[in-house]
Symmetry: C2
Subunit: 232 residues, 2 copies
DNA sequence: ACCTGAACACCGTTCAAGT
DNA sequence: ACCTGAACACCGTTCAAGT
């Protein structure tokens, strides 16, 4: 997850992605929505949900919006930009469910929600390693940071704590999504490992690749990490 | 990391990637190496090192090997196959440095080597979420599994332990690689976050995105995790 | 058994132009 | 300010054919 090609958009419309949500054009509500950054991103997410990462094409995206391909480029820098926006748009956080939780419960909720948001859109786990940090991701990091500080984690340790949690959650989410095989693939994977069992006896015996309790494993490992990170 | 499109190769040469390393054609050492699976993979890794993921093209790969594009397809199923093979080829493990370490030292060595191997070829971190589990990855998992068992981790807990470690290491490696910005990008990222400091005061103040001690943070977080996973 | 070129059905993006 | 079509320089892969 990176700040590659950071915020400054190169081209015409100087409304950056950070401000566009606030400054709606209140004048002249055009009858037909026409093209807009928001519509493009929404259509991109739909397309990604339906067809996966390789299914997103500028031409297909334009088709879905009923516009010419090149019209998109007025609102968006290029395809990379579309990916950045689609990824971040899927990561909005609505906040913890109720007031007054212990900090640990809050953190667990935030991270489980993070994982769940991405698993709802499996393509997001493929995009993550290449994309910039959008406002929604930064907000989540900000909130996490605040929660840990308030919990009493020393300033010097907060960054290590955040990155440890981030690493764990992202690794778990990416792995989970890529193991979400169709039944066919699942069977093939098992068969393959059995065929190779002389070479990999231990993981074959433990059925490592067939272990299904992803949610439980996620929670357990997260628990270990939080034990280590907790202020003494 | 997935077993998507698992082992069984669809096409002609029935030497699968699992056996090809052992059965070398000892007869008739052809003068000019001609094309081979191994040469193709080696060239692919070179190309990926030089040009990144988007730089790998079947046409460019053929050029580099001095062959026609379609010749590659005799040895390789398709581009996906090339990616699978390139990723796994970079993940060979030579084993721990000396005999007689404690199990924890062994595990730390294995996981730091894993991370280092991938960071030597940053494109591998982009490939990881989409690719199948090759023999080298499976060997590493096998060894890790054996080490943990020998250390006394209960059978019922080994899988959770492995996946927790895997998740952490993969998340850390992917994140590390994608934050390995050029100096320009780094400056731009800092500037951007400062510009937005009203919105993200906590992570701006802690300089989360500029924290440079990746290796230290990795080791620290790994320590926490191992504390949690250690047999009581 | 291994290699090849032509051809097909796509891509993302530049550019010059329209309104 | 916003949208467009034609054109360019690419892609991966099928196929029918060569040796």
């Amino acid at each position: 997850m990176a700040a590659k090609r950071s915020g400054a958009r190169g081209k015409r419309p100087q409304r950056t992605s950070e401000t566009s949500e606030w400054l709606q054009p209140l004048h002249e509500p055009r009858s037909e929505p026409s093209l807009s950054r928001e519509r493009i991103v929404a259509a991109a997410v739909e397309l990604l949900d339906a067809q996966g990462v390789d299914g997103l094409t500028m031409r297909r995206l334009a088709d879905r919006l009923g516009s010419g391909v090149m019209s998109l480029y007025w609102h968006v820098d290029n395809k990379e930009d579309v990916f950045d926006l689609a990824l971040d748009s899927v990561l909005e956080y609505r906040g913890p469910p109720q007031i007054a939780q212990d900090w640990r419960g809050e953190v667990v909720h935030m991270l489980e929600d993070w994982r769940a948001s991405m698993l709802r859109h499996p393509w997001s786990t493929l995009l993550l390693p290449r994309r910039a940090l959008g406002p929604n991701i930064l907000s989540r990091l900000e909130l996490l940071s605040k929660t840990l500080s308030r919990a009493g984690v020393a300033d010097a340790d907060v960054n290590v704590a955040i990155w440890s949690l981030w690493n764990y959650v992202m690794g778990a989410t990416i792995t989970r999504a890529s193991f979400d095989l169709s039944d066919d693939d699942r069977a093939a994977a098992q068969q393959r490992l059995t065929r190779l069992s002389e070479r990999y006896p231990t993981i074959e015996r433990s059925r490592l690749l067939l272990d299904n309790d992803w949610d439980g494993a996620f929670r357990k490992g997260l628990g270990f990490l939080l034990d280590g990170l907790s202020p003494r």
